[in-house]
Structure formats: structure tokens, C-alpha cells
Point group: C2
Chain length 228, copies 2
DNA sequence: TCCGTTTGCGTTATTTTGACACAAACTAAC
DNA sequence: GTTAGTTTGTGTCAAAATAACGCAAACGGA
């Protein structure tokens, strides 16, 4: 399939903001560039759109290469069009944000491609291109989204404790939430379901394990986390 | 500025969903195509991105041509990438939605380009390309946006009555809202300010006129319209 | 067994919401 | 002008949601 224009079109890049949550820290996946421009600097992982590709195909290509996993939660974020965002020439960037539970990845931190690394969202280095702006927009989106959408689905293990879910929300929103009010609200929505079981290995541990309610219609769902 | 790719890139279209509000009706601007494909059919107004153009420049070009006005409220909606969305070949569409008070336009219904027309959102004809999907997404966005963002700024006259604002919300959301609760909520937020004046021309009209509060930080603003 | 911490369950005061009553201001018809 | 019906501004009240926090059982480590 060819473009039907006689004149040339801007290059089309797909850039990804991949969020990972692990041990009370929210991180983003960054790539260390091997080539100019920004050689040696950090950028968001991305690739150019191929002619016959859907955006999600390009995302999968990048994710598979860098994380060994391609079926993540993906959501289109925004399309950036500044004229000088790429020093090589006009390039449009369609950006996505992805959520991943790092413990589910094929590549663990040790075996990951040596040009990629997780960075805490609180310690993001300077980024090439306009990627700092893209990152900020993604974080903003995640923070507003978590208030009304069950984002934890993608970031926690299948079984998790109330404390873990509570800490996920505190970490992402970067505020403290009353533990007891949080519990009440979350349970009143049918966001998660109690399993009645305790964590294995620990002989008689107290905290109950929960699972996400798969029967939930993710669409018209409304959470409304109490902010205190 | 040239693209720096050796291989060719997809064409990049900018398509606009322009909403207008007039006499308790929410309408969308549609264009009647003069050429194939979809000759004679209705589509959203749009244009191809030129090499040195920002998206907003392309939007302005389209708006100026069709409405004689280019400084509207504009918001990027979504970028569509289906492979077969344009029968002529691969074309990506970056879509925007715009809000207009038709009474502020240079071109009134009579003097508008004869290939454009307002259609009530309740009576949208079949649309070419994937434009029906784009339209639906825009309407959805407008409806969710109005619940927490002062959208009326763009759709009403400078001075307006409480009833007019109330009816705007009812029309866009397509539900009925309790007049008295709506008033209470809107006034409690500082979304609008009373002017203490009455409408001119009508010697002693009762309904008070309001203006939008320009000092409002449009960012972290939260409305929360009561839905009853 | 003791002690500090975590977890589950509850109470209470305050605020917000939803539903609606009522009278003053207005318009149109006579 | 007077009258009748409508629109507009203000207030009330019960129910629901929110915010703040008490307490004891379950737990882990010393």
C-alpha cells in the first residue's frame, strides 16, 4: 500500500511511555541511544511506522525487542507535531503509554537489553527530543486515569493484598490516602473481590488476598477514590 | 524542511469535528465532497498536513476557508490509523474537535460556502471514510469534558442567563438536570460570575446576566455537575 | 511470652447530593 | 390596568457520601 500523495510526507514515529510498578516505586522504561542525535543520551523507546503497520504493531515491535513482551495495556496518548522536535527533519510522533508488571516480563532487570533501563518517575534524567514533555503528559494521564479506572489490573500480580493495592494508589498519586476509607470505597465498588485465602509460604499470614473482578465492565466503570 | 527517511511515509490528514450550539441544538459542521472518493457524500472538513505546517495551522486553514474564522477552541482528539480508512491509500488522520458559537461567525448560514452545512448531532447522515467513528468519539469527549471543564465559554455569548447555560448542559448531555441544583452547583464553583445587569432591549427583564470567570485556572478546575 | 506493627471492622460529624416547595418577577391576553 | 400562566430566584430537608479516627484481633520478631 502506497501513499497517494505526490509530495512527501513527514516521518511518523511511535514513541512509548512504559510504566512499571515494583516495590512501591513507579518507573519508566528509557532507552540509551547508540546513534546521533542525542547519542549516549536517554530517550523514550520508539520506532518509525512502517507503511503497512498499524500503530499497535509498531508498539509491539518495540516492546518485544526491549522487554520480550508485547501484550501490554496500551493507550494512545497524544500526537506531537512541533516542527523542530527532531533535528534530522520533520517528524510527527504518535505517543502511547503502556502499563506493565515488571515481574511478568520475560527479561528481568539483569537480562534486559543493555541499552534499556527502568528509571523512577522521581528521578528522570534529561531526555532527548521532546521526550520530557511526552513523559510528563503520560504521568499526568496515568494519575487522572487511576481515579476512575481500574489501572491496578495491569500493574499488580494476580493475587494481591489490600495493602499492596493501597500503596499502589499512594505511589502513583504521590499522596497519602486513609487506609480505612480506601478499603471501604474499593470494596464497595466491585473493582476487586476477596478470595478468602492467605499468601502461600507464610504459614498463617494475616492479610487476605484479593483478585480483580474480571466481570467488571471496564467502560462505564466509576471508581472515585476518596482523596483523604 | 524535508523528511529524513528514504522510504515513503503515509499521508497525514487533519480532520475536524466542529461543534456549534444554537437555539438549544448541538450541531456539527459537515462538508459535501466534490471529488471521489465519496463524491456527493458528507464528510468532516479536513486537509492534508503540509510539510512546514503545525497541526493547528492546518486546522486554521480549514476553518478560515469554511467558516471565515480560525481562532476557535481546538483540542486534539485522537489519531486514526486503520490501513483501509482511505480507499486511495494509506492515510493517517489526526483529528481535532472545535467549539464555536455560530453567531460569532463571519459567515452566517446563508453566506457559508455552499458545500458546508450544520447538522444536528441527532441527525447525522452517513459519512465517508471512518468519519462516523471520529464524530462519535468527539461527541463522547465533549460530553465527558463538560462535566469537569468550563466548555460553555466557547459556545455561549459573552453575557448569558442561567437558563441559557442550564439548557446548554441539558442539550449537550441529552438529559434533564434539576434547574435549582444546577444553579447552586454552578454558582458555588466560580465558573461564572453574576453581573447584576439585565438583558438590554427588554425594558425590565428578570433573568440576570452572567459572564464566565476569566480568572479561573482552566487547568485544575473541577465542576461536577449534579446529574439530577 | 511480651511488644510493637499490621490488618480488619467499626463509629461519628460534616459535607454533598437529590428532590422539591414557594414566592417574586415577568409576559401575554384581555 | 387586571388577570392568568410562566419563568426565575431562594430556601428547606432527608438521604447519601465523605473525612477523620478508635479499637481490637492477628501477626512477627525478640
Amino acid at each position: 500500500m502506497k501513499p497517494f500523495h505526490s509530495y512527501s510526507n513527514p516521518a511518523l514515529a511511535i514513541d512509548l511511555v512504559v510504566f512499571g510498578y515494583h516495590e512501591n516505586e513507579l518507573s519508566v522504561l528509557l532507552l540509551n541511544r547508540k546513534d546521533e542525535p542525542f547519542k549516549g543520551g536517554w530517550v523514550l523507546p520508539g520506532a518509525f511506522l512502517q507503511m503497512e503497520e498499524r500503530f499497535s504493531d509498531t508498539c509491539s515491535r518495540v516492546l518485544r525487542t526491549k522487554l520480550g513482551m508485547d501484550k501490554l495495556y496500551l493507550e494512545q496518548l497524544y500526537t506531537f507535531d512541533e516542527l523542530d522536535r527532531d533535528p534530522r527533519g520533520r517528524a510527527i510522533s504518535v505517543t502511547y503509554f503502556a502499563l506493565v508488571n515488571p515481574s511478568r516480563l520475560e527479561f528481568s532487570a539483569g537480562t534486559m537489553a543493555n541499552d534499556v533501563q527502568w528509571f523512577s518517575v522521581k528521578k528522570i534524567p534529561d531526555l532527548g527530543f521532546d521526550h520530557k514533555i511526552i513523559f510528563k503528559k503520560a504521568l499526568q494521564r496515568l494519575r487522572s486515569k487511576i481515579l476512575y479506572f481500574p489501572v491496578g489490573f495491569e500493574l499488580l500480580d494476580e493475587y494481591f493484598t489490600m495493602t499492596e493495592l493501597h500503596e499502589l494508589y499512594e505511589t502513583i498519586l504521590d499522596i497519602s490516602l486513609d487506609r480505612r476509607n480506601f478499603r471501604r470505597t474499593i470494596l464497595a465498588s466491585e473493582y476487586i473481590l476477596p478470595t478468602g485465602t492467605k499468601r502461600e509460604g507464610l504459614q498463617n499470614r494475616h492479610p487476605e488476598l484479593y483478585v480483580f473482578n474480571k466481570k467488571l465492565k471496564k467502560n462505564n466503570f466509576q471508581l472515585n477514590i476518596p482523596l483523604s
